[in-house]
């Protein structure tokens, strides 16, 4: 797919991450609190982007499981910042028209009495444009 390469470039651009810096130590995956929920593991994001396998990334569950807790960003010994890479992939999906991780009609049933505005706001920002 010819656009795969462009999309990979786009991800690098949005994230500001250079995946070539990765030395494949796996500390990100060792750190990630959402590891078990992810189908593509944090350390694999790097090679998916390097290989231009963006479709798989875009369709992965992991995109919507990353907590943006920055634990991987903090601990990465090579300053690769996998969390940023994942967010950029998510952005790429969200920015494509009509795609979203959260539909408005889903929301009412997700709410409860104590739910803080902050949660709704954050989720909206992460899941939608």
């Amino acid at each position: 797919m010819s656009s795969a390469k462009n999309q990979a470039e786009r991800i690098k651009e949005i994230s500001g991450v250079n995946p070539l810096k990765c030395m494949k130590c796996g500390k990100c995956s060792a750190t990630c609190p959402a590891f078990n929920e992810m189908d593509i593991k944090p350390h694999q994001f790097v090679s998916y982007v390097l290989n231009g396998d963006i479709d798989a990334l875009a369709n992965s569950k992991s995109l919507w499981k990353c907590l943006s807790c920055f634990a991987c960003v903090e601990r990465c010994p090579r300053d690769v910042q996998p969390g940023r890479l994942i967010d950029a992939a998510r952005q790429l999906v969200i920015r494509q028209k009509g795609q979203t991780g959260l539909a408005p009609e889903e929301i009412p049933e997700l709410l409860d009495e104590d739910l803080p505005q902050q949660l709704l706001m954050s989720a909206f920002r992460r899941y939608r444009r």
Partner: protein
């Protein structure tokens, strides 16, 4: 001493306590929080994309207002703190973001990260001083074993937030000591509570919070304190028995101003 104060959306609604106790405590400690006029929501999460500008502007507005007043900008909610501090860092160090944000803002003098952003805890540590705080405590919470819950947003990325050692923080423990209680150090205090994921992934967030609470109880904590309404919400969803309070509530209690805040 006066600070520009950015409360944020949740402190006006679900987390009114967090805000009220902080204001009362500030008064007792001799500083004043002047709310930003017409503040807008920070967005809750920091936009990670290097090309996102519009979503950073509300932070820039608040930052600029503090700059014009010549005051430090104080936040209370961890998320607001995280977002505003990181945007400020961008405005200071990222030429591209600074230029583009200023193009939108059309300010008389462009904003370039001049404002100092402080979390309320940082005010206590760096401006008031924990020793002074200790002296002002009228109702020490002696004997209470308290676990500090930091979460992620206050600490990481450590290089940008410069809040505390992200892997072994001490600020809330020092705070706990200052109000006369005993801090309980436990390893999960800087692990994520699940954050915004709890909107849909209730189970996932619950599991994470269970782990945090179990770890804290295991080390003997009788309660947790936090600075973040979302952490509070998520932690409360866990059924593990361990009460969670806003740190400002205990502060107000120790300073003897809890009732005034009500």
């Amino acid at each position: 001493m006066k600070y520009t104060y950015y409360p944020g959306c949740t402190l006006r609604t679900k987390a009114k306590d967090l805000d009220a106790y902080a204001r009362a405590s500030a008064k007792a400690l001799g500083f004043e929080l002047e709310e930003v006029e017409n503040w807008q929501c920070c967005g809750g999460v920091y936009p990670l994309g290097t090309d996102e500008i519009a979503s950073k502007l509300s932070s820039v507005r608040a930052l600029n207002e503090a700059k014009e007043k010549g005051q430090d900008l104080v936040t209370l909610c961890s998320a607001c703190h995280h977002v505003i501090k990181r945007v400020n860092n961008d405005m200071k160090n990222n030429d591209d973001i600074r230029t583009r944000a200023n193009n939108y803002m059309q300010l008389e003098t462009p904003y370039a990260g001049e404002t100092n952003v402080l979390h309320f805890l940082e005010v206590l540590r760096d401006k008031v001083g924990f020793d002074t705080l200790k002296e002002k405590v009228v109702n020490p919470l002696t004997g209470k074993k308290i676990g500090a819950y930091y979460g992620c947003l206050l600490l990481r990325p450590g290089k940008v937030l410069g809040f505390d050692n992200p892997e072994n923080p001490t600020i809330i423990e020092d705070f706990i000591r200052a109000i006369g209680a005993t801090p309980v150090v436990y390893p999960y205090r800087n692990e994520c509570c699940g954050g915004y994921i709890s909107l849909r992934e209730k189970e996932m967030a619950k599991n994470m919070c269970d782990k945090i609470k179990e770890s804290a109880s295991g080390f003997g904590a009788e309660m947790l304190i936090t600075a973040c309404p979302l952490c509070m919400y998520n932690l409360n969803k866990s059924e593990a028995e361990l009460p969670v309070y806003y740190f400002t509530e205990l502060l107000a209690e120790a300073l003897g101003v809890k009732e005034e805040a009500k």
